[in-house]
Amino acid sequence: MTIAPTIQTAERSVHGVRPQMPRPRDVLREHLHAIGYALRVPMLIAVALGVLATIILAIQIGSGDLDYNFLTQPSVLPGVIGALLPVAMWLREERFGPGFLWTLPVDRRRHALLKTLAGWLWLMGGVTLFVLSLLVLALVSGGGVLPVQTMTTLTDALRLSGPVNPAALQTVQWTPGALIWAVPFGSATALYLLASAIVLGIRYLLRWAIVLVFLLPIATGATHLISRLSGNEWLADMPARALVQLVEGRFGLEALLTLRTWSLDNRATLTTGERIHVWSSIPDLADWRTAALLWTVAGLLALWAAASRHREERRA
C-alpha cells in the first residue's frame, strides 16, 4: 500500500528550484516602515511636546531670560529613549515561540538583527533632530555650541567631606571638543543595544528583574559572611562597590550618559558658610569615548548572543 505521487509530472514541480527570497534591504526597509507605523502615536506626542518646548523657549529667549549652552545633561533623554525603544518594538512580538515574525522566510537571527538595525536608524534620526534642535537653541539664544565652561574645582577632592577653605579652590576653563555632540548618539546607541539584547534574549523579563532585585542583598550578605570568616574586610562591600563602579565609575553608565557631569558636580560649603558648586574634577571626553566604546561593544556582543537564541534550529 505504498503511496505513489498523484501528480508525478506536476505543472509546477519545485524540487531543486531555488525559491525567491526577500532581499535584506527590502526586509530592512519594511521594518523601517513598520516601526514608524507602530510608533507613530508616541512620535506625534514627542513632536507635540517638542513644539510646546520650542514655544516656551522662544518666549524665554525673546525676554532675554535664556542663555543656553550646549551641554551634556540633555543627552540623558536620548539614552533613556534608546533604552525604552526596544521594549516598545519587541514586546509586541511573540519573541519566543512560533510568532509571526519567525514564520517569515528570513534567517531568524538575521531577521532579529535587521529589525534591531531598523529601530536604531529611527533612534538615530530622532537623536539627530534632538541634537540639531539643541544646537539651534544654543545659537538662537546667544549661547555657544562649544561653550567655554568656567568651573570651580578643588585641589584635593577628599576635602569635600567637610567645609572647604576658599584657598583650596581654583577656577579652570573647560572647552569641550566637538566630540561632545556625539554624546547623545553614543549614549543612545549603547543603551539601545543593551536594551535590545535584554528584550530579545530574556524570555521572562519580570522574573529576571525580581531575581536581580534580590541578588544584590544576597550577594552583599554572602560577601559580608565570607569577609567575617576570612577576616578580609575588603570583600564586605564588594557587590555595592561593583554596582557603584558600574553606574558612577570612570567608564560607568553615568560617564556614558553625561560625561559624569552629575557625580563630578558637587555642592560644597565653604568655611565662610557660603554654598557653592564645586567640581571634583573636569569631565573628560577621552573617558567618555572609552566608556562609549566599552558599552557599545558589550551591547553588540550581548545583542549577538540574544539574537542567536532565535537562530534557525540547525541540526548537525
Binding site: M1, T2, I3, A4, P5, T6, I7, Q8, A10, E11, R12, S13, V14, H15, G16, V17, R18, P19, Q20, M21, P22, D26, V27, R29, E30, H33, A34, Y37, A38, R92, E93, E94, P98, G99, F100, L101, W102, T103, L104, P105, V106, D107, R108, E312, E313, R314, R315
Partner: protein, 305 residues
C-alpha cells in the same frame, strides 16, 4: 500503518523518523510522513495528536528530538528560510500579529517578505473572504482573523500550503466560500496542501491522501482510494462468544454486536479479510465502504460509552 518510501525526491513533504517530546508527553513518535507533490493531504487526529507540532516542525519553528523533515527536497532544519518561502502557513491559533495595524497594512507588511506576492490576488482574496481592509487587526473577530490568515497564506501563491485547522472559527457560509477559493487556487496553480481538520467531510471533494495521527504516531497514511477500498465495514454472523481473530486485531478497528450478528470495521483487502474471517468461523454477510471521514476516523480510538 505508515508507508515509508525511499523515493523521497518525489514528495513535497517527507519526514524520516520524526520525534518530538515536550517533557513527558511524546508529541511526535517516529513519524514517516509522505505527501506527494500536487496532492491535497488531509491530516486527521484528535486534539493533542501532534498535528500542530508536525506543522511547526515543517516550518522549522520546532526542533525535532530525532529524525528529519524535508520540504521539496530541502532539509527544514538546514534551509528554514528557503522552506518557509515556499509555504503558506495558517497556524492553529486564530491570532493575527500586530494588532495595531490595519488589515491592509498587515497585508502590505507580509507582502514585503514574499517577492512572489500577488497584490491583485491578495485584494481579490480579501474581498472574496470579506476581510475589512481598514479595520484594525486587534478589532477583528476570530473568524475575521482566520480569513485574514488565509489571505496571507495564499497571496504569495506558495508551492505548499500548511493549514492547521483552517476552518475553525469560520461560519458555514464563509467555510464554503473559503473552500471554493481553495479549489480555485488549486486549479490555477498546482499546489500541495497539507491540511489538518476535524471536519474531513468538508474536504471530501479535494482530498487525495489521508494521514491519521494518534498519540503522535502516524497510524495510517494512504491515498483516498486506498483508504476507501481497504477500510470497510463487515457484517458477520458468528457463534456466541466469537472474537475477531488475533491476527486481524491489529487492524480490527471498531465492532458492535447483537447476539450472533456482528459489525466490525476492518482494514485490509476485502478478499483477504473475508477469507480470514471465514477461516476463523464467521460468515461474512456483506461488506460496505465508508465515507472518507468515517474511514479516517475508524483509526481513532472509540469514544468511551
Amino acid at each position: 500503518m505508515t508507508h515509508p518510501d525511499s523515493d523521497v525526491g518525489e514528495f513535497a513533504v517527507a519526514t524520516h523518523g520524526l520525534s518530538k517530546r515536550y517533557g513527558r508527553k511524546l508529541a511526535l513518535d517516529e513519524v514517516e510522513l509522505r505527501v506527494p507533490e500536487g496532492s491535497v493531504y488531509v491530516l486527521v487526529g484528535v486534539n493533542g495528536a501532534g498535528k500542530s507540532t508536525l506543522f511547526k516542525t515543517l516550518m522549522n519553528l520546532e526542533r525535532p528530538d530525532t529524525g528529519a523533515a524535508e520540504v521539496f527536497g530541502l532539509d527544514t532544519g538546514g534551509s528554514g528560510p528557503e522552506v518557509r518561502a515556499q509555504i503558506g502557513y495558517v497556524p492553529e491559533r486564530q491570532e493575527a500579529p500586530y494588532r495595531y495595524m490595519s488589515c491592509a497594512r498587515l497585508l502590505r507588511h507580509a507582502a514585503a517578505f514574499y517577492p512572489a506576492w500577488d497584490h491583485a490576488y491578495a485584494d481579490h482574496l480579501a474581498r472574496a473572504l470579506g476581510v475589512p481592509p481598514e479595520q484594525r487587526v486587534g478589532g477583528l473577530s476570530k473568524g475575521e482573523t482566520r480569513r485574514l490568515q488565509l489571505v496571507m497564506a495564499l497571496a504569495h501563491r506558495p508551492a505548499l500550503l500548511l493549514f492547521d485547522e483552517p476552518m475553525d472559527g469560520l461560519d458555514p457560509l464563509v467555510r464554503r466560500r473559503a473552500l471554493a477559493l481553495l479549489a480555485e487556487h488549486l486549479a490555477d496553480a498546482p499546489t500541495t496542501v497539507v491540511i489538518s481538520t476535524h471536519h474531513v467531510q468538508e474536504l471530501e471533494s479535494l482530498a487525495d491522501h489521508v494521514g491519521v495521527l494518534r498519540g503522535g504516531r502516524l497510524v495510517a497514511q494512504m491515498s483516498r482510494d486506498d483508504l476507501q477500498r481497504t477500510v470497510r465495514t463487515y457484517e458477520l454472523e458468528a457463534p456466541e462468544g466469537w472474537e475477531v481473530p488475533k491476527d486481524l486485531h491489529a487492524t480490527a478497528l471498531r465492532r458492535s454486536s447483537t447476539g450472533r450478528d456482528m459489525r466490525c470495521t476492518l482494514v485490509g483487502e476485502e478478499r483477504d479479510i473475508t477469507g480470514r474471517l471465514l477461516a476463523a468461523g464467521a460468515r461474512v454477510r456483506g461488506s460496505s465502504t465508508l465515507a472518507l471521514e468515517d474511514a479516517a476516523l475508524a483509526f481513532l480510538p472509540e469514544e468511551p460509552s
